[in-house]
């Protein structure tokens, strides 16, 4: 049985290799090392599509929509709302919302259940803003080897925004959370066509929910949220994967016990191992809900296929972020990891924002280059050279990209 599985997996890998790189692609490789997926090289032509309130984004799925942000938008520190990626789970996404009627319900294990309008939230609470990266748990899933099912994102299932709204703590204080509260669950307005499909609900521990940073946002980059990003309200959980950032947030329930629901108990779980790593042949049996963002660094420029000219200065540029410890340094290699140079870091925009790094470079010889980038944070975390798990979550492998100097 095991040998059959191994054989199948080997055959599959071969098939995938041919599919991924093809004969022409294989010929262009500078070394056979690239059997590992190379995130920023050989990018296939993508289909772009325009949805309401959105610029042309990469179409992953149309119904329910999963739309990816093209790399060039990451040249901006704050991802424009119209370019911010989109990911829904259930087909019945809200298509009509009357902000004058909409109410956020807060109930459960509280002294005073409340129903708050958008107007209440805007006028009765102290406004609070935070800059934070929102990244899908499965961002970069398409680079996992062996490949795994799920949304086949490249690196664009993420974005950075300034979120404005109300601290969740302030809302909870108004309602008077009972002393024995344990968790808080969050539900949005999205619904599945079939009743048998579990409703999308997520939960946070009571202390986390009241940390003064978790918030209910009514604005994103100074404007209303786009419908596709969760208008009128979105839960913001800085430093945590976007699965917790419930869109079209509608119901907050304080619970005297641990929350149990499909999207916490069965879905969005990671191996309870260092860096959420597991072996495809021996899946971890102990799993936990996905939580804090891993440390990552990515290339923004050069883009895949970008051509540079010998003797012309070029700025290699990218982004680095983690779950809030702060980026300590970023190192870039222009010779495939043989030597590493310290990149310059732009000023911090907040501990949950990403931070831009830059490396001015004067290419002196023509040819193909393979670049790598790795970040280190203030907690001493490093990026990994290999990561796999069955769901394709939390990719933070040291990225590489290729470019041609002519």
């Amino acid at each position: 049985m095991t040998s059959q599985t191994q054989l199948a997996s080997r055959l599959l890998n071969r098939r995938m290799f041919v599919r991924l790189f093809g004969a022409a692609g294989a010929g262009a490789l500078i070394s056979p090392l690239l059997t590992r997926a190379s995130p920023n090289s050989g990018a296939p032509k993508e289909q772009l599509v325009g949805f309401p309130e959105k610029t042309h984004l990469i179409l992953r799925t149309d119904r329910p929509p999963q739309l990816e942000t093209p790399l060039n938008y990451f040249r901006e520190d704050f991802t424009p709302n119209e370019a911010f990626y989109v990911r829904w789970h259930l087909e019945g996404i809200p298509t009509s919302i009357d902000p004058g009627v909409f109410q956020l319900q807060i109930g459960g294990h509280v002294e005073r259940p409340a129903s708050l309008s958008i107007h209440d939230l805007c006028t009765q609470f102290e406004p609070f803003s935070i800059n934070a990266v929102n990244q899908c748990s499965g961002n970069s899933r398409s680079f996992f080897q062996p490949r795994v099912p799920g949304g086949q994102w490249r690196n664009g299932a993420m974005g950075n925004a300034r979120w404005t709204g109300v601290r969740l703590r302030d809302i909870l204080d108004r309602c008077g959370v009972k002393a024995s509260a344990v968790e808080i669950s969050f539900e949005g307005l999205d619904r599945a066509p079939l009743n048998a499909t579990p409703r999308f609900a997520k939960a946070l521990g009571i202390d986390h929910a009241r940390d003064g940073e978790v918030m209910v946002a009514y604005q994103m980059n100074g404007a209303d949220l786009p419908m596709l990003n969760g208008f009128p309200l979105r839960l913001v959980v800085p430093g945590w994967y976007a699965t917790y950032w419930v869109k079209a947030l509608h119901e907050i329930t304080v619970l005297p016990e641990k929350f149990h629901g499909f999207w916490m108990d069965k879905a969005y779980r990671i191996p309870n191992t260092p860096n959420a790593n597991e072996d495809p042949e021996h899946l971890a049996t102990d799993t936990v809900p996905i939580n804090r963002l891993s440390l990552r660094s990515l290339f923004v420029r050069p883009e895949p296929g970008e051509q540079l000219t010998r003797g012309t200065p070029f700025e290699i540029q990218g982004l680095a972020f983690d779950s809030g410890y702060g980026i300590q340094r970023v190192e870039v290699s222009i010779n495939d990891g043989v030597n590493w140079q310290l990149a310059q870091l732009d000023p911090e925009l907040g501990k949950y924002s990403w931070r831009r790094w830059r490396l001015p470079w004067l290419p002196e010889t023509s040819g193909r280059y393979r670049l790598r980038v790795r970040a280190f944070n203030r907690a001493g975390h490093q990026q990994t050279t290999g990561l796999w798990n069955r769901s394709g979550f939390m990719r933070n492998v040291i990225e590489q990209t290729e470019m041609e100097v002519t």
């Binding site: 772009l48 119904r63 259930l90 919302i97 004058g100 086949q152």
Partner: protein, 355 residues
Amino acid sequence: MRFLIRHFCSTLALLCLGSLQPGDGHFEAATRSSNATLDSSTGVQSQNAVRRLALPHLELNMPLAPGRDEFMRACITCHSARYVTMQPPFSRRQWEETVRKMINAYGAPADEFQIGKIIDYLDAIDGNGARPQTHDSSSDDDEIGATPSVALPEATESAPALEVAGNEQDREATVRRGAVIFTEDCAGCHGDRGRGDGVAAQALLPRPADLTAARFSSEFLRQTLWNGVHGAPMPSWRSLPPHDLRALTAYVQSFHPTTNSGTAAQESLALGKASYEKSCLPCHGSTGDGKGPAAATLAPPPSNFKRIQPDFDYIQRVLRDGIPGTSMPVWKDQLWESDRAAVAGYIRSLYEPAE
């Protein structure tokens, strides 16, 4: 020391400036205007308006291969075929894991005997390396649009006979049971009241049927529940036990009063027949059974008016606007309003429930 302090301050200023991107002035203005618009007392109506999202429809034209019907019926009610076409090639075992997860975790309407056929299809479209046709990368909006579904010869399997409840009391219980199942399995698309306005309706094309706009014969409902609707997101519900299918049939029929709202005058019927034969017959057939000469290649198939009796107003509306996502065209430029009314009367006269 003074230098250090000044340096610190300017750094702080820089940091603050950075953290307030994209421009604090801009941001505050936006906050003010948003707060103001949310306050009805300011009289700013435009931004306090209902926000709507008009979802585009970009359904894929899926390739022909064995198992396509089973795949379409079990899967595309909840998600488009792109959920499959974006995946890398997987083994049959991996596809089976995914299909079983869809059924067990998300309630996909497929039973054990359909699983193998669905996997056949998923495997076939991967194994051949034949990806479904889709438009290539392009910034041209016109390039991306809804592609009509591929028509397939339909091997309709017969639904099991559903005995009708005997007495009035049984019938009421059956309808009540049907209401429960409808809420669970149908209301997400067809809406709580069967008006075709469920939560998923906006995402679907063709739109879910308005079950209040026509009389449906038991035979029609039985076959539709058993086979699904080819070329539409209506799945097959043959995984439900026969008594539940019967209950659903009874409940759906309860949406529509059984009394016929009058018959058209003979004269008008003759006029309607003439227009029908000129315009409708190629698809809907001379007897209205939906088997006209052009019907075989259409999906969803043309309506069978012997088994469905749409309301007068509904037929007129369809003649005027067509049915988006199907082959039913707009007739308002070809048929005058009086002709459309006559056709509607004639179509209603074709109803012959076989029960």
